[in-house]
Structures are given as structure tokens and as C-alpha cells.
Symmetry: C2
Subunit: 193 residues, 2 copies
């Protein structure tokens, strides 16, 4: 592939988003996506298992970044500091290209039950990856659960803010996690009931 | 329906679980489930939209209980106290019958991608319901997000513990939320990185 053209995955994703927005997710076929991207259906299936997955590419890479980010945090880092390291490690994938299509991608997902389910599972995958990596650092099961839950919230809130304002995802996610940490520590308690 | 027989929904769920465990989810049809339950396919479809939904019945009721639990919490209750009220309100659906089939239900779900996705979306539904109900009480957007996230974690941890040990779900969930609150307040901080 010449450097003058985006790679096949990116072309397929753009073509898919164009078609999903023009005619709806349900009404679009893999053959149409491939055609719009100027590629063949078999090229499509070399990259993505089915129609849905074009919107959810790159998850394996992200899960690896979560794992290596947490494993690579300093030994003295607490659970949330390790989660922060994961978010910072993920930032490398939050490129300007990804930003540009992000809003359209999210609006397609939110309009379609099947895609919202897939997205919910993706988030559950991040939660599991954070929790498992924290457990491997010797974090207690309860603390790992709580830190992973707050980490995924930071990812979700950070992503929404990044789509709005752009900028460096690492910074945005760091700020989101910081706010969440303060809020979690100060939440008015269960004992009040 | 006579009082000597369980209602159609429960019969269909039991039949479905039997078949899913015996021959796998993929290999089971709605017609087989209905037949095993001694009911017709059209009765099945009066109760559940598709094969999957037999495992996820009652979510609307639960979402309503979440909403009314949070809305009905005392005005002075903080966000986590309101979330606790939601968990306590949900307890009415955690019956001995539900307990009896819970472990099998969960193992079928965890074995099948499609069902795990559906389950992830169900949890996201609870999160949204908690967050929206908290917002209606005037809780800030950040606090509502954090409290809902911790509330869903309490639901998940409480449910797992309840399936293991049985007992009163309200008590189990309350304890789970209490632990989570303490852990969240004490998590070692992001500023350490």
C-alpha cells in the first residue's frame, strides 16, 4: 500500500460509517462497505469477522496496552495510580484520525441495540483487563474491582470529553480519573439511610 | 393457571436452562423450549421476543424498582444511600426460585458471547437508571456517574455472593455496597504516579 492512501482497515471503517449514516446500519451489507472502500469482500473479512466488528477494531491492542500499562506502573503506585498508567498507555491509539470519526462512530453505536451491546461488552473487557492486571500486582480483590470500575468510568468520561474538546487523551483521561477519585472519596455515605 | 403449576415464564425459563445445559445454547430452538415446557411456540413469543430473552426476563420490573427506590429515599440521603435504597428495593425479585436457577443461568451466560453481550447491556441499563434517578434528585453529574458505577458493582458483587451463600439479598447487597464505599474512599491515589 502506498503512503498516499490510508490502510485498508481505516478505509473500511470510513466507508462503513458513511454508509451507516446515509442508509442505516441494518440496511448496509459488508459487500457495500467493501465496494465503497474500493476493496473486495474477502479483504473485508481478512480484517473483520462480521459487519459489526468494523466499528470495534483495535480492541486487542487496547487490552494489551491496559495490561502493560498497569504491569509497568512503579511498584509503589496504588491501584488508581496503576489504572492511570493504563489510561495513559492507551492514549497512543487516540489519534487525530480516530478523533475525526469518533463522534459519528458513537452516534451509530448509540442508535442500534446490537451495537450498544457490543460496546457494553467492550467496556466489560477493559474492566476485566484492569482488574486482572491489578490482581497480578497483589491488589486485593475488592480494591481491584473498585479501581477497575472507576477506571472504566474515567475511560468513558474521558473519551466523551476528548470527542468534544480534542487534545491529548492522556491528559484528558488523567483529569477525568482525578475528578472521579475525589468524588468517590467524598460521596455521601450508605450509613445515612 | 392452577396454583399447582408454576407460571409460563418460569416454566419456559426452566425448560430453556435444562436444554441449554444439556445440548448448548446454540443447538436449542425456541420450539424445543416451548415443547419441553409443555407450551406452544406462540405462548413463548407472547412472553419473550427471542431465544435469548428467556434468560433476561423481568428487567423492566427491576429498572422500575431502581427508579422508585432512589426516588423514594429520604431527602437527606446522599447518593450512595439512595443507591442502597435501590438495591434494597430490588431485593423483592431475588426469590428462592431465582436463587435455585441462578448459578445455572449465569454459567450459560458466561459460556456464550452473545449472552455475555446481552448481560453487559443489562448492567449498563441499571447504571443508566441509577444515574438518571440520582440526577433527578439534584445529584451532580459527576457524583451520579460515580455512585451509579459503584452501585452496579455492588449489584454484581452482591449477586455473586447471594448465589453462593443465599440469604436475604437486601442484606447481602447492603454489605457489598458498604465494603465498596470504604474501599473507594481509601484507594491509593492517582497523584502518586
Amino acid at each position: 500500500m502506498g503512503r498516499w492512501e490510508p490502510d485498508a482497515r481505516a478505509r473500511l471503517l470510513r466507508a462503513a460509517l458513511d454508509l451507516f449514516c446515509e442508509q442505516g446500519y441494518e440496511n448496509t451489507s459488508v459487500a457495500q462497505i467493501a465496494e465503497r472502500a474500493g476493496l473486495t469482500k474477502s479483504t473485508y473479512f481478512r480484517h473483520f469477522r462480521d459487519k459489526r466488528e468494523v466499528l470495534f477494531g483495535g480492541q486487542d491492542e487496547l487490552l494489551e496496552l491496559v495490561g502493560s500499562g498497569i504491569a509497568g506502573a512503579p511498584e509503589s503506585a496504588g491501584p488508581l495510580a496503576a489504572v492511570e498508567a493504563a489510561l495513559v498507555a492507551m492514549a497512543v491509539t487516540f489519534t487525530p484520525e480516530r478523533w475525526e470519526i469518533g463522534t459519528r462512530r458513537l452516534s451509530v453505536i448509540n442508535r442500534t441495540d446490537e451495537l450498544r451491546e457490543r460496546d457494553a461488552l467492550k467496556m466489560a473487557g477493559f474492566r476485566h483487563a484492569m482488574r486482572d492486571s491489578l490482581r497480578q500486582r497483589g491488589v486485593s480483590e475488592l480494591d481491584a474491582d473498585v479501581a477497575a470500575e472507576l477506571g472504566v468510568l474515567a475511560l468513558r468520561r474521558g473519551y466523551a470529553r476528548w470527542l468534544e474538546d480534542g487534545g491529548d487523551f492522556a491528559e484528558v483521561a488523567r483529569r477525568a480519573l482525578g475528578e472521579i477519585q475525589v468524588a468517590a472519596a467524598e460521596l455521601k455515605g450508605a450509613e445515612q439511610l
